[in-house]
């Protein structure tokens, strides 16, 4: 109940300002107008026609569903490329001083560059469409996963390693059965940050490189002065981001049932 207080208050003030005519509706539409526009954005444009399509595909034919699917596709592909490269490199850098010494200087120089700064290069290299967007998202996901994987492997408690050696573990067993699971809480925390970054980058890249997705849609709406649709799109972005984070949280709870830090 307490959690609803501030949102309701914000809505009331917003409604009051809009109804009082303080702002032009093109600058600040009323909450009701945003809700109507959101419904129109979410629901199918055509009336249901059983002769033409199946019920489920009709239900999902709304513009918002298509945009969300396009954005999520880019996030998933970009994340898996970025994290898929970061994980083996991070494991190698965490486990070997030699590999760490070789790669760390380059990583330290590249890491502070925001993924957005790669936009000009991404367009030069990949043109327009999905490839530059996915490239940018991969970069966004790469560094959080890399840094956390390195830290995770480097901070494995030496007592586990001693215990495993005492049980006769060889290098492969030691790495796969001891160091990797011991580093897993860090790696999953990195993946959660990486997905969050990927979702930020997808919105930005859609404003520049492609003609679909949530980021593209709110920029398009600006050209028509549809501020109600901009806000409806922003709220959709917020809710989807929240859902993604919730999913990652559930995933790490399932994978880390053994972990002490997750006891409620």
């Amino acid at each position: 109940m307490r959690g609803a207080l501030i949102p309701v208050l914000v809505l009331a003030v917003w409604q009051g300002l809009a109804a009082g005519g303080v702002f032009n509706p093109e600058v600040l539409p009323a909450p009701g107008a945003v809700a109507v526009r959101w419904w129109a954005y979410l629901t199918p444009e055509q009336p249901f026609d059983p002769a033409r399509d199946a019920w489920l595909s009709w239900l999902l034919s709304g513009e918002l569903v298509g945009d969300a699917a396009a954005s999520l596709y880019r996030v998933v592909v970009g994340f898996f490329i970025g994290a898929g490269l970061a994980l083996p490199l991070g494991l190698a850098m965490g486990a070997s001083r030699l590999v760490f010494g070789l790669f760390n200087p380059l990583v330290q120089v590249l890491r502070p560059i925001p993924p957005i700064a790669y936009i000009p290069l991404a367009i030069l290299w990949f043109g327009l469409g999905n490839p530059p967007a996915i490239f940018l998202i991969s970069i966004g996901a790469f560094f959080p996963v890399l840094m956390n994987t390195i830290a995770g492997v480097q901070t494995v408690d030496s007592i586990y390693i001693r215990a495993a050696l005492n049980l006769g573990a060889g290098p492969a067993t030691l790495f796969l059965r001891v160091m990797l699971p011991a580093a897993m809480p860090y790696i999953l925390a990195g993946a959660r940050i990486g997905v969050g970054t990927a979702f930020i980058v997808v919105i930005v890249s859609e404003m520049i490189a492609v003609n679909s997705g949530l980021g593209y849609r709110i920029l398009e709406a600006r050209e028509y002065f549809w501020s109600d649709k901009i806000i409806a799109g922003m709220l959709s972005i917020g809710l989807i981001g929240l859902a993604i984070d919730g999913f990652m949280d559930r995933l790490s709870r399932v994978l880390l049932v053994w972990h002490r830090g997750l006891e409620s």
Partner: protein, 260 residues
């Protein structure tokens, strides 16, 4: 097991600490030996050298005539911090050593089950270490080593972090298991009472550098009553020996504080 002239130095030249100096010790198969002494006497260092985690700077350690090269499952170690793998269930922890050896799954299941029964852990087989009390965890750690069937058990203050009652239960349990499995046990402790209760022989070490100060044979029948006159006499003798070293340790410590 024979330990000959074992010396262990730490640190760079000039600021070197000699943890062990010229330690000589023979341990017979099936014997229960306690290494006793104050903090800094090198008892854990000696145990780690036997385990093969950190080789001595000089001298040799041989087990069954073979020099110790590195850590291995023939010398199972039980750590004070339990060192169970928190991502494995109790059963997986106990079976891990067998899995490394390449024992078939079905046989691992049978042997793990039998051990868990013997240590009264069967109902916790699917639990993770975080769900267990300290005493339970240490039982699992002991089961993990017994599963390997190593002839030698190295125990580094295994009951030091437990409350008095749990500690006393586990001491009885360890003696029972020792009788049942016929292992050689090298047990590090700073508790005089624990050493008297458990050991066939008590090796008192000196404070820095660690050397063998005295070896005391304890021929008393088990279970040993804390109030019996023989135990009391032995305790007085040991207190006197350990106190000499404890005093040197405290003098050193206060010197270090003054230097800081």
């Amino acid at each position: 097991m024979t330990i000959r002239g074992v010396t262990k130095r730490y640190g760079a030249a000039g600021r070197q600490v000699v943890a062990l100096e010229n330690v000589e010790l023979d341990i017979i198969a099936g014997e229960f030996v306690c290494l006793l002494g104050p903090s800094g006497c090198g008892k854990s260092t000696l145990l780690n050298a036997i385990a093969g985690f950190s080789p001595p700077s000089a001298g040799t350690i041989e087990v069954g005539g073979v020099p110790v090269g590195g850590p291995g499952p023939d010398r199972g170690m039980v750590f004070q911090e339990y060192a169970l793998f928190p991502w494995m269930t109790v059963a997986a922890n106990v079976g891990f050593g067998l899995e490394i050896k390449g024992v078939p799954r079905a046989e691992i299941a049978v042997r793990v089950h039998r051990l868990l029964e013997q240590l009264h852990l069967a109902e916790f087989r699917a639990r993770y270490p975080k769900d267990l009390s300290g005493g339970m965890r240490q039982r699992v750690a002991i089961a993990r080593i017994l599963a390997l069937d190593s002839p030698i058990l190295l125990m580094d203050e295994p009951f030091g972090a437990l409350d008095a009652l749990t500690r006393s239960n586990l001491q009885d349990e360890l003696l029972r298991l020792w009788g049942e499995f016929r292992k050689t046990i090298v047990f590090v402790t700073h508790s005089i009472d624990e050493a008297i209760y458990l050991a066939d022989r008590i090796v008192v070490l000196t404070y820095r550098p660690g050397t063998v100060k005295r070896i005391i044979q304890v021929a008393l029948p088990r279970p040993r009553e804390a109030s019996s006159p023989e135990v009391s006499a032995l305790r007085r003798e040991l207190i006197a020996l350990v106190m000499e070293e404890q005093t040197r340790f405290q003098r050193d410590e206060s010197l270090m504080v003054r230097q800081d």
